[in-house]
């Protein structure tokens, strides 16, 4: 009984791994160099920014929200931290902390707009997406910041032995996110809020606090991602983060996050980011133009989500859709909403 009940979840969780394995295998067959350790490490590194942002988004999506400002926060944090080091002489570690802190605050502000002003998350973060991007331009007047200190680059873009540090960071953030979501009171409150905000509220959960914390987390991780982007090119640009909004969102969605709320998987998001990284890397190896790469990426997102819906029961959905017509007019007068 218990195994039975959990099988749909497991099927979907395994489904995404199978999909990833198939994609890796296809590239490996077409270009054997794809599966060499050196290249796989490149794939992992290229997935890192999407993975970090995607993990934060996963929390937001589970609460039933969305954060469109993550790309802008990454840009804003990147340029502020770079400028503080290059122009202000701030030490790299302090700049790192400053950047993550700035991301947390920017994210928490989103949360405040959504809870206290009761703005729909899409609208609130659409607004701050533009506002934070504007802030990123204002900091340096739109000019890039070059010559980021090598020490900073070394922290985020170096190697610990054979392993890129950034991959270690993603592993740590991933494990931490899983523990936070699945093994803490906070995580349970996040899932409850997304599953039914009314139930959570009537059960004594401070729904607004949960939401503000989740957007702060999303902002903080977007900030970290912005710092990684700076370290990887040793320079900061005012709009360096913007492309990552859609790809990180895609990673979360491929990984099984449901934009209706209540559902999302940490492992799924990580694999989703890896799939996107593999697609980019593999198609470069195959000399496919980046224009086609965009088309393929889009198709993969659509297929992944369609498959995810399928395993949740396409037929089950159809059944409820038909069933829903019945209660409308039907069962009894007691079903009318009381006022």
């Amino acid at each position: 009984m218990s195994n039975n009940s959990r099988s749909p979840l497991n099927f979907q969780a395994i489904g995404i791994f199978i999909a990833a394995a198939v994609i890796f295998l296809i590239f490996g067959l077409l270009k054997p160099i794809f599966l060499t350790p050196g290249n796989l490490s490149q794939v992992a590194v290229s997935a890192c920014v999407n993975a970090i942002i995607g993990l934060g988004l996963t929390f937001v999506i589970i609460t039933g929200g969305i954060d469109l400002s993550v790309g802008s926060i990454a840009s804003f944090v990147g340029i502020v931290s770079a400028a503080s080091m290059v122009h202000g002489g701030v030490s790299p570690y302090l700049a790192l902390a400053l950047g993550i802190g700035l991301g947390l605050i920017a994210g928490a502000f989103n949360g405040v707009l959504i809870t206290l002003l009761r703005l729909p998350p899409f609208i609130a973060t659409l607004g701050t997406m533009s506002a934070y991007q504007g802030c990123a331009y204002v900091v340096t007047g739109g000019l890039p910041v070059y010559n980021v200190p090598q020490q900073f680059v070394g922290i985020l873009n170096g190697y610990a032995g054979q392993i890129p540090i950034i991959v270690l960071i993603v592993i740590i953030v991933g494990v931490g996110s899983w523990l936070l979501l699945r093994r803490t009171v906070f995580g349970q409150n996040v899932i409850a809020t997304g599953g039914s905000e009314e139930t959570a509220w009537l059960s004594g959960i401070r729904v607004n606090r949960v939401k503000i914390a989740v957007y702060a987390l999303s902002g903080g991780l977007a900030g970290l991602a912005g710092l990684v982007v700076v370290a990887r090119i040793s320079a900061a640009q005012s709009d360096a983060g913007s492309p990552y909004l859609l790809t990180a969102l895609a990673a979360a969605v491929i990984g099984g996050a449901n934009l209706m709320g209540g559902e999302g998987r940490i492992g799924g998001t990580l694999v989703g980011a890896l799939i996107l990284g593999a697609l980019t890397n593999g198609m470069v190896l195959l000399n496919v133009s980046s224009f086609y790469e965009m088309i393929v990426t889009g198709v993969v997102v659509i297929i992944a989500v369609a498959l995810g819906q399928g395993s949740k029961g396409w037929f089950a959905h159809k059944r409820t859709a038909r069933g829903a017509a019945v209660p409308q007019g039907a069962p009894s007068d007691t079903d009318t909403v009381k006022r």
Partner: protein, 500 residues
């Protein structure tokens, strides 16, 4: 007149576990107003849905002007000239009054339609609501919207109109005008009207004949002028009782344990106050829409703008949110189990421990699921939860067991006050009996219990004392033998002695 306009022939309809309609037959002539009355759950809505084509009967048929309806779709019903006007008028606020009347009309028919609009507006004026076609519908009062919806039905050229509690949002002084309009229009155009209402004086005033539904069957029918309010009410009540007796009725000397004073809800409910003794079950009856749910929600401050003070065991407890209510030991078990009581995709144990706060945290913030599971299994065993596997998602439990999960959230926390809103809604008979025993046991343990229910036998079986709410106020208190269907229904409908 010859053949009747509408004939309902031997219609039966069963939903899983409920026989909603059982061999229902009656007929409606042109220009007749037929009042369809019955308690909540008697089958009126199901019958309207079948007439309106949104439900298919299991057996029996709807015959319009001698033609047996071949398919049950809303489209077919419209083609038959059947229009159902529901309680909530379907008016689009962004459009003007005139545009609302033209919804669904093709451009080609606009010219003809404008004539209808003019006519509708004159009908409205006759009902005491002179409106201008250019008025934005969003500025209309609830009464004007209701009147507009009724007027529109006649403009649609309907032959058969079902009005589902058309006067609920109308003030007393407007009711007469609207009813007059309805009667004149129906006689003038020979429209047959099925008039669903809980308000006996309206039924007596406006209708030509009465049909009483009870437990899905026609219990009584008569020309209105040959019957009385009393006879109608007597036939409405007396639904089958589930055999249940409380084991420990409240002791006569029990002390007041739970008091709420001057509770108001922003929807206009209250101020209302109750006090409940330790071990007492207080039933709250009333019609759907009388404000019972809002009263309970206001006690736990579920909605912003609610006021009122709460005393438990002689101590005043400040409550600003459901969280405060939880911490004060007040359990609110809401009506919409699936939407307000549970998080369906979460495992049962996570649902039951959702009210636990940090109770199960270890090593700082970390949760140990095995402790949550053990605690849930313990309370589950106490409530004979089936299945016993609390790792299953909440949606895998039956209605009765889902309700047990919601109750378990609070029993595990040792709540002392339980506010139940429709505790057995959607629960089958076996599950009902179990939940009744559970409520009985909670009372026997000395807790204070409030049960809001539209199911009168439920109120009667459970309550030591019952209150009837109408229009957001408590009107009457019933104790002992006075907790019977007749007196509760009479009070809820405002026909008891001494009522305005």
């Amino acid at each position: 007149m010859g053949e009747p306009l509408l004939e309902i022939r031997n219609i039966s309809k069963t939903f899983p576990g409920v026989r909603a309609l059982d061999d229902v037959s009656f007929s409606l002539s042109r220009g007749e107003i037929l009042a369809l009355v019955g308690e909540n759950g008697a089958g009126k809505s199901t019958l309207l849905a079948i007439i309106g084509g949104s439900l298919v009967p299991d057996s029996g048929s709807v015959v319009v002007e001698g033609v047996r309806r071949s398919e049950y779709t809303p489209r077919r019903a419209l083609a038959d000239g059947v229009v159902i006007a529901y309680q909530e008028p379907a008016i689009v606020g962004q459009l003007t009054v005139g545009q609302n009347l033209l919804i669904g009309r093709s451009a080609a028919r606009r010219r003809a339609s404008t004539v209808e609009v003019r006519e509708t507006l004159s009908n409205l004026a006759r009902m005491g609501f002179p409106l201008d076609a250019h008025t934005p519908a969003s500025t209309l009062s609830p009464a004007q919207r209701q009147a507009l919806a009724i007027a529109r039905v006649f403009a649609l050229g309907a032959k058969i109109v079902a009005l589902d509690e058309p006067t609920t949002s109308l003030a007393e002084q407007n009711v007469a005008a609207v009813l007059n309009g309805v009667r004149e229009l129906s006689h003038e155009r020979e429209v047959g009207i099925i008039y669903v209402s809980h308000k006996m004086h309206e039924v007596m005033e406006v209708s030509d004949s009465v049909v009483v539904l009870r437990d899905g069957m026609v219990r009584f029918s008569s020309p209105t002028n040959e019957t009385s309010t009393d006879e109608i009410v007597r036939n409405m009540v007396g639904r089958q009782l589930l055999e249940f007796r409380r084991t420990h009725p409240v002791a006569s000397n029990a002390a007041i344990f739970f008091t709420v004073t001057d509770v108001t809800h922003p929807s206009g409910v209250g101020p209302a106050s109750i006090s409940v003794r330790a071990g007492e079950v207080l039933g709250i009856a009333g019609l759907v829409g009388s404000g019972r749910t809002e009263f309970l929600r206001a006690i736990v401050k579920a909605d912003a703008g609610s006021t009122g003070s709460v005393t438990i065991d002689g101590r005043r407890v400040p409550i600003r949110s459901p969280r405060d209510a939880r911490d004060a030991g007040i359990a609110f078990i809401p009506e919409e189990r699936k939407r307000q009581g549970l998080i369906l995709q979460m495992p049962a144990y996570a649902n039951v421990t959702i009210t636990a706060g940090r109770e199960f945290a270890q090593f700082g913030p970390f949760l140990n699921p095995s402790r949550q599971i053990a605690a849930t299994e313990e309370v589950g065993a106490q409530l004979s939860l089936r299945p016993t596997n609390v790792r299953l998602a909440a949606h895998q439990f039956s209605g009765g067991n889902q309700q047990k999960l919601v109750i378990a959230k609070w029993i595990r926390r040792d709540a002392r006050v339980y506010l139940f809103d429709e505790p057995t809604k959607g629960v089958d008979v076996a599950g009902k009996a179990e939940i009744y025993s559970l409520i009985d046991a909670l009372a026997a343990a000395g807790h204070a219990i409030v049960v809001v229910s539209s199911d009168l036998p439920e109120i009667i079986a459970l309550s030591d004392r019952a209150l009837v709410m109408r229009n957001g106020r408590f009107l009457s208190e019933h104790v002992g033998n006075d907790i019977n269907e007749h007196s509760l229904v009479a009070s809820a409908m405002g026909i008891s002695k001494g009522m305005p």
